[in-house]
Symmetry: C2
Subunit: 238 residues, 2 copies
């Protein structure tokens, strides 16, 4: 029943919970009481239910969530302070990117992502890195599904995306140019576990027309390697 809470639906009344979960109000009432007692849900004065702090605490034990984030944070901070641009850390979950950390640059270009949010693999720098190193069946699944167009520059042709993935592998980093908004581009590099598997990606999102992507690549590549070295063994397991 907790699955009815989404980034767009964070506060729900009892009757909304019942409707979205497809369960009778009486059943939901009993379940919700248990979940509130445990702390998985919290009730606000207006009578709406939210995800509770106890569930956030439990989620913080996920190796691919806070574990990865804790190891990477000092390097993300360095990138942020040196460039003053947006820094992002992401992993792949199925056929989507999940953003594990995001540090907004003080005067940087606005970005649409948020921590805990999902996005298309093909439209983002981190996504291209993660897809370029994903198993072949995941790549096929993504390329055979409809691809959302955000701007006139969003790649939707599978052949073009395949070429971008090949470029990402051969150069060692990805560039996603104005695919999400027309004023921004991202440059991303792979983070690898002790076995050399790509398990996460780090990116800078900068204003289009500012720094050229190839001048940012060395920064991303060295930061990604530093994070790879700092990863605890558990944070790299999928």
């Amino acid at each position: 029943m907790l699955g009815v809470f989404t980034p767009d639906r964070r506060a729900l009344t009892l009757s909304e919970l019942s409707r979205h979960a497809g369960m009778p109000v009486s059943t939901v009432h009993r379940l919700v009481s248990d979940l509130v007692a445990w702390g998985a849900l919290e009730r606000d004065p207006a009578g709406c239910f939210h995800i509770g702090l106890r569930l956030w605490e439990l989620g913080s034990l996920a190796p691919r969530g806070l574990g990865l984030r804790e190891a990477a944070l000092p390097y993300l901070e360095d990138l942020s302070q040196v460039t003053r641009e947006n820094v992002q850390l992401a992993v792949r979950e199925g056929t989507e990117v999940v953003f594990v950390e995001r540090i907004a640059g003080s005067k940087a270009v606005p970005v649409l992502t948020r921590v805990g949010g999902r996005f298309a693999l093909t439209a983002t720098g981190v996504g291209l890195v993660l897809l370029a190193h994903a198993p072949a069946d995941v790549q096929e699944q993504v390329l055979n599904a409809p691809i959302t167009r955000y701007t006139e520059r969003t790649m939707t042709d599978p052949r073009r995306i395949r070429a971008a993935l090949a470029d990402t592998r051969s150069r060692g980093y990805a560039v996603s140019d104005r695919q999400v908004t027309m004023d921004a581009l991202s440059v991303a590099a792979p983070i690898r576990d002790a076995q050399g598997e790509v398990t996460a990606a780090v990116s800078l999102v900068v204003r289009h027309g500012g720094a050229a992507p190839h001048t940012l690549a060395p920064l991303l590549l060295t930061s990604a390697r530093a994070i790879s070295r700092a990863l605890p063994a558990a944070a790299t397991r999928a």
Copy 2:
């Protein structure tokens, strides 16, 4: 069953899960399969189960977790960059502090806390702020329970703690001096919601013998007010 995962117990085999949950292996096996399918748990190559990214994503919807953290982060970053000390953001859950964010200073004194971790209210600056503004029954519950001693400076006498709470209310900030480790002290200030209720606290943890607490107080007080103003309405609900 997910409650058997704790900060000290993040990876469990099927038989450990069965033992800690007090349920037969066959039942646990069925439950775990469902939880893995949903993404609440992940299985690593060694056969251990961890909290999954899907649960981390769900937890990220908690207003008192990432909601609060997102609103506060720019001000925490400012504090971190200006002071180079440890910056912490915390809320109260029952009779304990839960750390929602922590930025380690580059050359700062080591601290024991971690994001998503819990600590005693009476031994930390943020805890003293949160306890000073907690309902009377919570204060009584904390003061009547045994209090863990971390160092020779840890306050365990309820009368001394009551005086510290009164000081915290009258001065507007808390000082916790060498209560957790003998080389560190923290200075903390309250974050208030639109109704003026204290819902979170922000602190700096600095080396004992460095900056005097009263010189740090104005920094904390102004940052706490800036965060209070930036809070979305939902992040302040308990």
